[in-house]
Symmetry: C2
Subunit: 446 residues, 2 copies
């Protein structure tokens, strides 16, 4: 009887299976609508105040804001030698080893995909090249809200080191005793981060964007965070002098499963997304009724056993279980939704890859849970959310690299292509442009 | 006597040569300060009004705004077959040929630098890959203020075609008679742009960002523009659903010249930047007094002969002629300034390339004026300004591409790396993540 009751309650939370093909255009739009991402005016102005305060009062503002928001008084924010040593001693050997292994795989994958230089002769006497330079100073944010995320330190630290950034700064919120999370510190050291500051929230973003006496100003800021952190990143980026990795929002997964998918695996993957936060979003698409119904039942069972069930239940209340006529339709829906994570729980998943037009990261087959990519497959877990996958990509080494074009002409080159430039410059009414070329053509002909 | 007077007037406009080494820290900051880029509150709210209007009233708003700002009544904004045909007939053969040549060189250079896919086995049974996809729908803006810029249509159109974007939309302001500039239309056709709309200013950006009944919504917007266009791009990008190529601002050049540089060439290059607009910025750095003084005199002479002298004179009034002790110092200054265009008028320019840490595009030696890159060397002329070169790169094919990571594990793979994921997930308190992996490890071991 008590089991019966529990099941009924959970069924109430998990939405019913909806047939996509029977939904009209409005209903379809509603089915794919994300939980609202509008930033409250209150958040916006609170963040603006913090940014102003740090910009004008520097470290004094940081000290006061840290006391107010993190409830800890810090004279110095920077992690020193002693605290790093204490962290090394505090982290369990098994966890350290897992992080070392993960960092090695992340490095192997990312190193193979770095942007490289090249050069091409585009005409006789004209060579055009791309040279690659690290972004000089980068700032990494590693959240530590409900739980610290050392994995994020690996995901940002490894590519910044591969790019060769001159100064890599990492901010992470202090704990109530004024120390930083030891696992985050070990991850930072593993990846060669140069300086770590115990700063959280919008004040950390402000410090790295504007610089203070203690914290260096950075050229580009990376990393996920709560709504204050992401709003602060958006606001500092508006000035056009500090870049950010991407707009961030709640995490999400879309699973496309066929009749042969493993019901327990699919349910576990949906729940591992749902436990991130109450605004996480979870979609399951299948052309098989039995799979959908079995996953729905399995979700109830697994959900009941989760420590973070309260959070997952809120997210599951907004989940979508969609019945599609064919897998082609499922891919159309996925491309329209543009998911951060896309799991293909299909028998021949690689054959379907051509159907993927937009997504942050794709997981192929039954043995590749999203959690592998979150931690240690080698790919990055800092990915575009909220549909941003249509125009943004996940973090890679190139996110930490600038490319510079370099052209070189000799006298033959200016004779070969100069006349085109003169013609086009005159057509655009830019005579000084034409003149700079014509002067050289004349001299090269002499 | 009259020559004497003219020279005196011009000398008044062109600032005196300043010795960098004798300037203190504050003076140096002032010397490298760019003309203010603060957006007037008036511009900001005018743009916000235009965006709101187009978002809510669509094509009706576009019609009214076009009448108000471009002083032309257009029933339909889209360029049709007849107008394209008329444009082909109207463009001089020589200009068409120059554009065809330029497009071919731009294509050759850009095609060699496209982001490519790759894959790596990061562990036994674990494969990680990057696949590359075009950004589905892109919007290109081609200004036509003081002069239409068909070259910009080439710079944006060629890489969008190489990337394979599904829908490429181009907006350019209508002329007083309601037609679009014929050269821009020919350039758009040459590069395979799919649809061209006669829309300018903030209303064009709004149309491509939000979509109307007539104009498709785009995922990413590209291209330069006046202060209204660039502010509109910044505002639509704040929502996090539309991406933009980069923050844009006034154009700028920094020239590093040695004693052997050609005085007339250097002066011509400085002026070709200055004619862009009154807020363009121009810096010349040299370790040779005679070169600096000779260029200063030559600037007066060449300036007097320019059709756009009024504009160039305003920009030259804010130019900097800096004497440095060594070329190393010149490169330190350049890296601090982070110029859009960097001309190395040096005897062995390639030997100095390692000193370039940040810049948009570099021009090597006496025979490579900036105007070559602006039109037809093969590189792109849509480049980061205002110091944005520290964290942004010029437009390339990758600006039109998304990368998607793809991972695939088999049972051996989950056995090999799954335990690391479980350990890290538990350390982060994410039990559903650990569970999704542990379930598979158990089944793989069975």
């Amino acid at each position: 009887m008590s089991t019966q009751t529990a099941t009924t309650t959970l069924d109430d939370v998990i939405p019913a299976i909806v047939d996509w093909c029977e939904a009209d255009a409005d209903a379809r739009t509603e089915l794919l609508r994300r939980p609202t991402q509008a930033v409250a005016a209150q958040t916006r102005s609170a963040v603006a105040d913090v940014l102003d305060d740090v910009r004008t009062r520097g470290d004094d503002a940081l000290r006061e804001l840290t006391e107010r928001f993190d409830r800890v008084v810090l004279e110095d924010f920077e992690v020193g030698v002693d605290e790093f040593a204490a962290a090394e001693a505090a982290v369990p050997v098994e966890l350290r080893e897992a992080m070392v292994n993960a960092a090695a795989r992340i490095e192997r994958f990312h190193a193979a995909g770095m942007t490289a230089g090249y050069n091409v002769d585009t005409a006789d006497g004209v060579n055009c090249a791309r040279i690659v330079r690290p972004i000089p100073r980068v700032g990494l944010y590693v959240p530590a809200g409900t739980a610290p995320l050392p994995s994020t330190a690996l995901m940002l630290g490894v590519p910044s080191r591969l790019a060769g950034c001159r100064e890599v700064v990492l901010c992470t919120p202090p704990r109530p005793d004024g120390s930083a999370d030891p696992a985050v510190l070990v991850a930072a050291r593993l990846t060669g981060v140069h300086r770590v500051f115990k700063l959280g929230g919008a004040q950390a973003i402000a410090a790295m964007a504007f610089g203070t006496a203690r914290v260096p100003a950075c050229d580009k800021l990376f990393g996920p965070g709560n709504s204050f952190v992401t709003e602060a990143k958006q606001q500092v980026a508006q000035g056009g002098t500090v870049a950010i990795d991407m707009p961030a929002g709640p995490s999400e997964v879309l699973v496309i499963a066929d009749a042969g998918a493993d019901v327990a695996f699919v349910a576990a993957d949906l729940l591992s997304q749902a436990e991130h936060g109450p605004d996480s979003q979870v979609l399951l698409l299948s052309d098989d009724d039995a799979l959908l119904e079995n996953v729905r039942a399995e979700l109830s069972t697994q959900l009941a056993a989760l420590p973070r069930a309260a959070i997952a239940r809120q997210a599951m209340a907004r989940s979508r279980l969609l019945r599609v006529d064919t897998l082609d339709t499922a891919f159309d829906i996925s491309n329209r939704y543009a998911p951060e994570h896309l799991i293909l729980a299909l028998r021949t998943p690689r054959d379907w890859l051509d159907h993927v037009e937009v997504a942050g990261s794709v997981f192929l087959g039954d043995w590749t849970p999203e959690a592998l990519g979150d931690y240690c497959s080698g790919t990055n877990h800092v990915l575009p959310t909220g549909g941003a996958a249509r125009a943004w990509s996940g973090v890679s080494v190139s996110s930490f690299q600038n490319t510079v074009s370099v052209q070189s002409a000799n006298a033959a080159g200016i004779r070969a292509i100069g006349p085109d430039a003169v013609t086009m410059a005159r057509a655009e009414g830019l005579d000084a442009h034409a003149n700079a070329v014509a002067l050289r053509i004349a001299k090269a002909a002499a």
